[in-house]
């Protein structure tokens, strides 16, 4: 009896434990399933379509006589939702399932179809759109909202050659001034009454001198000011004079990224390298204080590197011009050259704190011990990221206990180490990039192809622009000459240049609140997949994407479709197709009519074409006739920055709502 009692107690305890743990959602990873239902109808009459095939996540249902379908137990995730029906244009789109959803779709009858193909050119930058609204927002006497806009908008030196804008003083009637307009054959394009002021935009005839007209208007007592119609740029595009040479930043998708985060001067990135030119005007405001900028070169090579001893407190790079100039200055400029300071270039970070530590000599080489000391110093002094644009020679690419120790130390302190994969065209990554605790970075060229020099292999994590001899990476540079330094800019190429792009992006992520623990995963999960699908030996997880990383989403391939565009309403007139890996598209189901071809990446997945998305369309409509075929219909796809304030409605998409 006593024996049975013991069994009963044990069973009761097990049941209680099971119940308790079963109630605790924190202890058990729960797989969630959702149901999707909806109705498929005709576009023209809204009648239900029977027999349509609806598919998602490998499950399918056929619509009944009321056009209804129902698919149950879909695991949370992102899938392609598809509907096909005889005689109707197919429809599919990417859908993130994290709730029970109702998805209704109207289908367009295929009467006559045309075929259209072409390429989508994706620009990671915004197209400058000159609008009257933007111009008027630059008025310094406008409302508070407009003042906010002023802070985001800058004037370029360029302006429209045939337009001027005149602001009249308060209570001035513009009608009596028409004689001036007539004398100069000015044509009023439009005007806005901004409270008590009146701002007018005029079209200027070809033969008139725009500067003379502006001078004349500014001399008139009734006029507050007159000026050209300047072309506007978003402030998220740096104004630095040499920014146009920095293709590498566009390829890293930073213009869109800077709309979210431009860097903060509390994030410290250690650049363990040849030192730096401390007073370079494009860097000096983004450096740590003097105490943390140090030299470990040729120091004591005995003892423990964790007991580091600084050789001297001056990390000035003493590389001469003959030896190629300052590598460390170049690397630092990629990470954080000051932006919008009327000088040179912009870094990945507009603001950051670079901690320059000198460990490589004026010939560009150094020893492991000095590097180890520098890593311990950087970790102990607040660096959150360490950039190592250095590596071994390929003949001696072996592990080192010293390196493993310092990387382990950095990892224990949540410091991210990013290193160059090496330039030896080897199918193995160089140490120290090769270690698990390093993020190994290979180099791509201006066309996003892996360079012929970049090391590759299974340990490669990411690629970033590294440049080639023809298209190098332009950054801060300089050289040492008899005690003084020359400060300038130069092109360089190598995985040394690729690594600081990743270090810079890691700094942007930390500035944006991402925990250092999550930076590696964030970088790899949001990169642009190049080469073979998924992680591969040539490109690792792919090319860094600053915008995607800051949004925490991998940007999807854009859709292409034919559309009728009336004002801000876009109606889909074809199937939706995603562009291929080579950015080409083929539309095989297009209804006849006169339509634009549209490319669209709905980044925020709100089914509207608005700020933050990518959008482009053919310049003119295409007259699509029965069974006609069009090829080489290419579309330029641009990022839509916040400042452009675009918001278009898209009709013809599936209607999604929570059940």
């Amino acid at each position: 009896m006593k024996k049975y009692k013991t069994y009963y107690i044990a069973i009761i305890i097990i049941i209680l434990i099971t119940l308790i743990t079963g109630c605790s959602s924190n202890n058990i990873s729960e797989t969630k399933y959702y149901n999707i239902l909806g109705t498929i109808t005709t576009e023209e009459l809204g009648k239900p379509i029977e027999g349509s095939k609806v598919s998602i996540a490998g499950k399918t249902d056929i619509t009944d006589s009321n056009g209804n379908y129902s698919i149950n137990e879909i695991r949370s995730g992102t899938y392609s939702w598809q509907v096909t029906s005889d005689d109707y244009i197919d429809y599919s789109f990417d859908l993130t399932v994290n709730d029970d959803l109702q998805i209704d779709k109207t289908l367009t009858l295929i009467t006559k179809t045309a075929k259209i193909s072409g390429t989508v050119n994706i620009y990671n930058s915004s197209k400058n759109i000159i609008t009257q609204n933007n111009q008027l927002q630059s008025d310094q006497t406008s409302t508070n909202n407009s003042i906010n806009s002023i802070q985001k908008i800058k004037l370029d030196k360029s302006y429209k050659k045939d337009e001027i804008i005149v602001k009249y003083k308060e209570n001035t009637q513009t009608q009596p001034l028409n004689i001036i307009e007539k004398n100069n054959s000015l044509q009023k394009i439009n005007s806005i009454n901004n409270r008590k002021n009146n701002i007018v935009k005029y079209k200027v005839p070809d033969h008139k001198n725009i500067k003379d007209l502006i001078r004349k208007y500014n001399e008139m007592p009734e006029v507050k000011w007159a000026e050209p119609n300047y072309i506007l740029h978003s402030l998220a595009i740096p104004t630095d004079p040499e920014y146009g040479r920095q293709w590498n930043l566009i390829k890293s998708n930073l213009e869109a990224g800077w709309d979210i985060q431009q860097g903060k001067n509390k994030v410290i990135v250690a650049v363990i390298d040849t030192g730096i030119i401390l007073d370079h005007p494009d860097l000096e405001n983004n450096l740590v204080n003097d105490r943390l900028a140090v030299d470990f070169l040729d120091g004591n090579l005995t003892g423990e590197p964790s007991d580091y001893q600084i050789t001297d407190s001056d990390p000035t790079d003493e590389t001469t011009q003959l030896n190629g100039g300052s590598h460390g200055t170049h690397v630092s400029g990629i990470i954080g050259a000051e932006a919008n300071n009327t000088r040179g270039i912009s870094g990945v970070n507009w603001q950051v704190k670079i901690m320059p530590i000198r460990v490589l000599d004026a010939s560009g080489y150094g020893n492991n011990f000095d590097i180890a000391e520098a890593v311990y110093f950087a970790v102990d002094n607040g660096a959150q990221i360490i950039n190592l644009s250095l590596g071994r020679t390929s003949t001696y690419n072996t592990e080192s206990e010293l390196e493993k120790d310092y990387l382990d130390y950095a990892n224990q302190h949540n410091v991210i180490v990013i290193a160059a994969a090496g330039n030896n065209s080897e199918r193995q990554v160089m140490y120290p990039a090769k270690y698990d605790y390093s993020i190994a970075v290979g180099a791509v060229d201006i066309n996003n192809n892996i360079t012929n020099y970049s090391n590759t292999g299974s340990n490669l994590d990411l690629v970033a622009p590294g440049g080639t001899s023809g298209n190098g990476i332009y950054s801060t540079w300089g050289y040492y000459n008899s005690g003084s330094t020359y400060k300038g800019y130069a092109n360089m190429a190598g995985t040394s240049m690729a690594a600081p792009h990743v270090s810079g992006l890691a700094a942007l992520l930390i500035a944006n609140g991402v925990s250092p623990l999550n930076v590696r995963e964030r970088l790899t999960s949001t990169s642009i997949d190049l080469g073979d699908y998924g992680k591969d030996n040539e490109y690792g997880y792919g090319l860094i994407d600053a915008y995607g990383a800051l949004l925490n989403k991998r940007l999807k391939k854009p859709y292409v479709f034919a559309a009728e565009i009336i004002d801000e309403n876009i109606t889909i007139k074809s199937e939706l197709v995603k562009i291929g890996t080579d950015n080409t598209y083929n539309l095989n189901e297009v209804v006849p009519g006169e339509f634009h071809i549209v490319a669209w990446r709905d980044v925020n997945q709100n089914n509207r074409i608005d700020s933050g998305d990518y959008y482009g369309k053919t310049n003119s409509t295409i007259n699509i006739d029965k069974d006609s075929t069009f090829s080489n219909i290419n579309i330029d796809l641009y990022y839509l920055p916040v400042e452009q304030n675009i918001d278009y409605t898209v009709s013809g998409l599936a209607q999604i709502s929570k059940q």
Binding site: Y365, L390, S496
Partner: protein
């Protein structure tokens, strides 16, 4: 119809190469060509050979197995190893016994001298044509030691001298900041010291430019405390990616 022996009387053999004519034009001259292992040298400092680089055709007369004939004023016939090639000035079309061919760019005539693109020479000579990049012969490596006998408390002071013997500036390109490697080998040719082994290099491309008829000198100091008494060989390797330079060796002794 062109007949080889019949045209001999009527057509004049081109025998002049007037370098001065090239000064009139922006024509790029080749450094050195070899056809059937026979060199054709030009008395002009070499530039890079491209398909559209022009050469004075008269220079080909030096070759065996070739006959050149000028037909009228603007046409040329070349016979090489039983094949004929007829072309006209300012025409890309080449008439051959293997049919008509088109080349990249038309032969041209300047100051009564005919110049043809490399593309045409490739058509005529095929694999017999070798573009000889002479850079390797123009670069010479020397090494120097402060002495030849050391005790192992002393250091080797290695001087590395790279000479450019050519008449033009040369650039040596490197994949990283590593320009050279230094080995110490024993009598059995085993490497017992490798300078680069524990070093780290910047991973950016670098270039060393050496002026015409000039040299650059690099220096390295090597600690030999680990070397036992004996005879050793110091070997220096230049790791340029664009020019092969033969390693240089020096014998020294540790006493």
């Amino acid at each position: 119809m062109i007949k080889g022996s019949g045209v001999m009387k009527d057509y004049k053999l081109i025998i002049f190469l007037i370098i001065a004519v090239l000064a009139f034009s922006n024509i790029i001259l080749a450094e050195s060509l070899k056809i059937n292992e026979q060199s054709i040298n030009f008395n002009i400092e070499p530039e890079k050979i491209e398909q559209d680089s022009y050469l004075p055709i008269e220079q080909l007369k030096e070759l065996n197995d070739i006959s050149l004939y000028k037909i009228e004023d603007k046409k040329v016939l070349i016979i090489y190893k039983s094949n004929y090639f007829a072309f006209a000035i300012d025409s890309k079309l080449i008439n051959t016994n293997q049919g008509n061919k088109e080349i990249c760019c038309s032969p041209i005539k300047i100051n009564n001298h005919i110049l043809v693109p490399i593309d045409l020479l490739e058509l005529i000579f095929g694999s017999d044509l070798v573009i000889d990049n002479d850079n390797n012969n123009n670069i010479e490596l020397n090494i120097d030691l402060n002495q030849v006998q050391f005790n192992n408390q002393e250091k080797l002071n290695v001087k590395i001298i790279i000479h450019n013997n050519s008449e033009k500036e040369m650039s040596l390109q490197f994949n990283t900041s590593q320009v050279y490697n230094i080995f110490i080998k024993n009598k059995q040719n085993e490497v017992i010291y490798n300078w680069a082994q524990n070093k780290m290099f910047t991973q950016a491309f670098t270039t060393k430019i050496i002026d015409a008829k000039s040299k650059i000198e690099l220096q390295e100091e090597i600690n030999i405390t680990n070397l036992k008494i004996g005879t050793y060989y110091l070997e220096v390797q230049i790791v340029a990616n664009n020019i092969d330079i033969e390693n240089e060796k020096l014998k020294f002794e540790v006493l």
